[in-house]
């Protein structure tokens, strides 16, 4: 180590730094700096056009006084009902797709398609599908089942179920692919052993497949909760101004409104940090309890 670097080594090091530089600089400039700045600004009152003034913890205490914070947090947590439902559907799809029949690649692509579709375009399509009077969904409900469909996006009680429905449609494909990979990595020896012991299909599924997929369950739950906390785009399109009586607004939508509609940047930054801390704690708890139910080979 005390050796002086030879010219060749030096050159190699220069290359190293050069190749490492773009992502590191990118993170420093567009990631870390804004983050640090937002901590700083969360203690200020700032409307982006006049100079900021120091207000201490005021923004944070104001947060806890605003009932809209709690309402949007409640809405956000409500939307997480979609996570277990989505997991069940994804797993079911993955099992169905985990066989070699003709055209399976096509089917897998079909289910994955929503994942790569632009979310705004998809939301606009759903807006049309969910229209009370001439929407596709209510037409089907009426023609096939004789049910008079609700006012999906216009009724304060139905906005959140609608959003969950849309989330499911867009989300199951991605998780299906993960489960598919998981299913294919489960060794067939377990099943053979179980068969010798006389296990039936259901028992094999419950005792072998499900536990061995637990790392994937874990990943899906963690990412799902983080994703739900951060959901925004579909709300922006489908629940204008937070939807009827603010029933569709999520916490990120609340932050967005304060940042880019009312230009209370300090307050919005404080709310964003509250959200960040919340996600951090929830994820930490999940990791803490992970070894109780996640099997690692």
């Amino acid at each position: 180590m005390n050796m002086k670097l030879t010219g060749y080594r030096k050159k190699e090091l220069a290359w190293l730094y050069l190749f490492v530089a773009p992502p590191v600089l990118g993170f420093l400039i567009f990631g870390l700096t804004p983050m640090l700045f937002s901590i700083f600004i969360s203690f200020q009152k700032w409307d982006m056009i006049s100079s900021p003034t120091w207000v201490g913890f005021d923004n944070y205490t104001e947060l806890f006084k605003d009932e809209k914070v709690f309402q949007s947090l409640f809405n956000t947590v409500y939307l997480m009902i979609g996570i277990p439902i989505g997991m069940a559907i994804s797993l079911l799809l993955a099992i169905l797709m985990n066989r070699s029949i003709k055209g399976i690649a096509f089917l897998r692509t079909m289910y994955y398609l929503p994942v790569i579709s632009p979310i705004i375009a998809v939301s606009l399509l759903w807006q049309w599908i969910l229209n009370q009077d001439y929407g596709l969904l209510n037409h089907l409900l009426w023609n096939w089942f004789g049910i008079k469909g609700p006012n999906w996006l216009g009724d304060a009680d139905w906005v959140k179920p609608s959003l969950i429905l849309i989330g499911l449609w867009g989300g199951v494909g991605g998780n299906m692919v993960l489960y598919l990979a998981g299913l294919q990595s489960v060794s067939s020896t377990y099943y053979e052993a179980a068969e010798i012991d006389g296990a039936n299909g259901w028992q094999k599924f419950i005792r072998i497949t499900l536990p061995l997929l637990s790392p994937i369950h874990f990943f899906v739950v963690v990412m799902g909760i983080i994703g739900a906390f951060q959901s925004f785009s579909q709300i922006y399109v489908l629940a204008v101004d937070g939807g009827p009586e603010y029933s569709g607004a999520t916490i990120v939508y609340y932050i967005f409104q304060h940042a880019f509609k009312y230009f209370n940047m300090g307050f919005a930054s404080a709310a964003a940090w509250l959200l960040g801390i919340l996600i951090f704690i929830v994820t930490l708890i999940q990791f803490k309890f992970a070894d109780r139910w996640v099997y690692q080979d």
């Binding site: 220069a14 216009g154 101004d241």
Partner: protein, 460 residues
Amino acid sequence: MNKKLKLSGLALLITTVLASGCSDGGSVNSGDKNNSGNNQGSNQTSNVETSDKEPVTIEFMGHGNPNEKSIFEKLIASFEEKYPHVTVKYTSVPPGEYSQKLTTLISSGKAPDVFYVGGSEFYRFAEAGTVLNLQPYLDETELFDPDNVWKQALDRYRFDGAKVGAGDIYGLPKDVGPWAFVYNKDLFDAQNITPPSAVAGEWTWDDMLEAAKKLTIDSNGDGKPDQYGVAAYSLESAVWANGGNFIDYETGQVLVDQPAFYEAMQFVADLTNVHQVSPNTEAEQSMNGYTRFLNGQLAMFAMGPWDQPAFWELPFNWDIAAWPASPDTGETATWLGSMGFAISNKSKNPQEAFDLAAFLSLDEYGQRQNYELGQAVPNLIDMSKGEFLAVDKAPASRQVFLDIIEDYGRPDVPAFSKDTQWIDLFWQQASRVWNGEVTAQQFTAEIQPKMQELYDKFNK
């Protein structure tokens, strides 16, 4: 050799990125210096005729529909002809993104020279010193006669250091938007009902309700009307006509819990819930009032001058009228919107920027284009009262637009508050009254303290 070349190329790329980042940070200072230098320069040269002026570029940002954009492109072309040393860089942003984009540009020191401002935005910008005081330029200019511009529009862009509405002028009106009451004349004729009067105070809420009842028709018998009497009745109009108010901007007192307010609000809600002459929330969701009116399935509605091009295409006769008067007061009222041109305080060429704003706001050719294409009522008083009134196109009662401007139009509610959360909260929660869940009296009593708190917190 090859390797070295690649290496130096990469290094060059990185240094340029870094360097451009640095120069961005430093440009504020040098910009300021330039600014003051140019200021003096343009003052000195303003008497000299065009030819030997240094070429300048003015950035102009706005929003609007394709119609508006093409009008502005033409206007800018004729401006550049008149001022050969000025090049205008015009950007039109989608309206939904406009406010975000503008504020970001301003906060990063890259504000366009000339840009649109609306009510509460103008207040914030004026207070923060973002927009230039135009009074000195206005006093000097020979381009137009300020007395020939609607005072009601100009006054929106006054700021006295604390409040909007008085003091020096910081913006020029792009337009004045009188919100008028419109009706389908054919539907009235079909039922043999006398249509509403164009004269304020002659036609009351009672007259409207009576007409609306006759005009609400369920022709296929499915229990849902296929033709409604009235839709989207303006709450502002009802409240103001009734002698009420949303807020007293002098004292900062939110007044929605006063009887004059909630009685008017109840009247509007009852049109739907009691009399069923106006589509309820569900019906409005499935087909909004605008579409119903275009389809000839709605007798009375509201419109701004910018709706004219679409309405000119309609196969039925329509006209505008004075908003119905409250029977209690005999008065009527409605809101008068406005959008303006402001100039950035950081503009390096304020004189040219002002010339552009004045040209766009008040040039006769542009104003004529604007009303001929059905975008607005002219900002120039003589043109409005002259050729605009004489146009042989619907609406026949064009005078109503001018009556609203001169007589009973008021600034829209948020125009004089820099933060609009208090009124946004009201509209967000008002659905509970519109769908009949609570009475207007209960609702306003409940929401007034919350609105007051929000107003006090962000506007005082």
